[in-house]
Amino acid sequence: MADPVLATHGLSKAFGALQASDAISLDLRAGEIHAVIGPNGAGKSTLIAQICGSLAPDAGRVEFLGRDVTQESTQARAARGLARTFQTSALAMEDTVLQNVLLGALGASGRPWRFFSRASRDAALRDRAEAALEAVGIADLCELRTAELSHGQRRQLEVAVALTLEPKVFVMDEPMAGLGQEGSKRLTGFLDGLRAQAPILLVEHDMDAVFALADRISVLVYGKVIATGSVAEIRRDPLVRDAYLGDEA
């Protein structure tokens, strides 16, 4: 088996008496979607924060492209090709849709120290930005202010910004949240194709989407991975049914 693109080894983090991450080890291989599911408060967001570098673990390490990046900053990991989407959209609301994707393209270019040229007239930035908007299907909104977008459109823009990075890995924190059936179906179809571009670590509540997309699923309960396996294995797992899925599966 090929080396995983992204892996955590024994990642632990406690907030006081609360063990938010308890020796979490999981990996993401090329071409796959690995979903992380779990009830509210299971520590999914804490896990993502540690993978992306906004939170330092108490113990354990994060490996990305075969390199230990545990000590690296968020921006250094992003520059290496780790793209994340946020659970609650983190977009520049005062700016236009185009400016938000331009920012992503600018970050990917690694050349922000230009004070005289016009960002919106930079052909390389613009091509990349527009391609990302087109890929998620919101190219027609590019001149709108982000604050004017609907919730669903913001979720799409969130994904588009990640696309501009042309990353090696996507880490997505509940991209379907609040999308509605139609929207999440469309996004599911889109993510299905995206895995060919880069593998996706997908934290998601929408079980239909997870079961449709995931190559593997890890179940997180009280900061611990209680099971990892294929969709079928997870559906059957009595421990998982008991802890999380209930009768839904």
């Binding site: 992306c52 906004s54 900053s73 968020t74 921006q75 250094a76 992003a78 520059a79 793209a83 994340r84 946020f86 983190a90 977009l91 520049a92 609301m93 005062e94 700016d95 236009t96 185009l98 400016q99 938000n100 331009l102 920012l103 992503g104 600018l106 970050g107 990917a108 690694g110 050349r111 922000p112 120290w113 230009r114 004070f115 005289f116 040229s117 016009r118 960002a119 919106s120 930079d122 930035l125 001149e143 910004v161 501009t164 990075l165």
Partner: protein
């Protein structure tokens, strides 16, 4: 053409026409007032880059304003007394040349901004305000207690410094020089706002976590913004000292920092011509009401209150509506 552009054009036209009007109406003092407004505007344009674009609420911009002022005072006072600044290991003479003084003012205030930024950008919000205020007070008391350059009394120079090809003692020529610098800096600011750097800085103010997630360091962006901001305000300080032919610790006081911030807020935070409108209104009120009552700042306070309560985006925002970029 948008309303903001029309307003900006009108403001610029007014600044260009003022000297003509002053000569026509035989009120030459108006030119000095206008010079004061232009220099204040320049200082505030500097702050606006940190405050408006970068979201850095600095209550210490008098540091840069004062450093610019003292760059002028120190260099010119040495030149006028024919004593070198230092004699060892090499001789540095004073100078009466404005371009050299400006360069020194810009370099010195950017260095100060870099140092202050490195230390204060570890904090944010109220702590950032307090730490910039603290640096301001340190510089203020340092200037007061440094007898070599006048201490509390400040430094006077006899003759305004020179600029090649101009007679800076003629008010209208000095005014033209200051206005040209203001226009130059405004043009730079306009480009900066739309540049890749401006885009990243603006995003760093709104959503720093997003900026990190695309691989950029918001703190470094803000640090560079603060250095640019300090350099511009430092240049304004050198001009202000030259206008008055005098520099004193007052230029470093926290009231000065507050005034520069008031220019920006009255005029419109993050608006290109906000600082120009704000400084103009301030100098106008100071002149018109200052004669009526020495408590004229009560009225300034009322204006500030109205603007903050009813006009999001300052005077420019009230007239021109919401900011649009692109």
């Amino acid at each position: 053409m948008s309303r903001e552009r029309l307003l900006n054009g009108a403001l610029l036209l007014a600044l260009i026409l003022i000297p003509g009007w002053a000569l026509y109406a035989d009120e030459p003092f108006t030119i000095t007032l206008a010079t004061r407004a232009v220099i204040f505007a320049l200082a505030a344009v500097g702050l606006n880059i940190a405050l408006g674009l970068g979201g850095l609420v600095s209550l210490g911009h008098a540091v840069f304003f004062g450093i610019g002022g003292y760059a002028m005072g120190i260099l010119a006072s040495h030149a006028q007394s024919y004593t070198p600044l230092i004699e060892w290991p090499f001789v540095i003479e004073g100078t009466k040349s404005m371009p050299v003084i400006w360069l020194v003012a810009i370099v010195a205030s950017s260095c100060a901004a870099l140092l202050i930024g490195l230390l204060s950008l570890r904090t944010s919000g109220v702590y950032f305000i307090m730490i910039t205020l603290a640096f301001g007070q340190m510089m203020y008391f340092f200037a007061i207690s440094w007898p070599a350059y006048g201490g509390e009394d400040g430094l006077s120079i006899y003759v305004r410094n020179g600029f090649p090809g101009l007679n800076t003692l003629v008010p209208i020529q000095f005014y033209g020089l200051c206005l040209a610098l203001l226009c130059l800096v405004l043009a730079f600011n306009a480009r900066l706002m739309r540049s890749p750097f401006g885009l990243a800085l603006d995003a760093a103010r709104q959503v720093p976590e997003r900026v990190r997630a695309v691989g950029l360091d918001p703190r470094r962006l803000q640090l560079v913004a603060l250095v640019i901001s300090g350099a511009i305000t430092g240049l304004a300080g050198a001009l202000f000292a030259d206008l008055n032919r005098f520099v004193s610790p007052t230029m470093l006081s926290w009231q000065m920092s507050g005034e520069i911030m008031v220019f920006v807020i009255i005029g419109g935070v993050a608006r290109l011509f906000g600082p120009v409108a704000g400084a103009g209104i301030y100098v106008l009120l100071e002149h018109l009401l200052g004669g009526v009552s020495e408590y004229w700042q009560i009225f300034l306070g009322l204006v500030l209150l109205m603007v903050v309560l009813f006009g999001k985006g300052g005077v420019v925002g009230m007239i021109a509506g919401r900011r649009r970029d692109g």
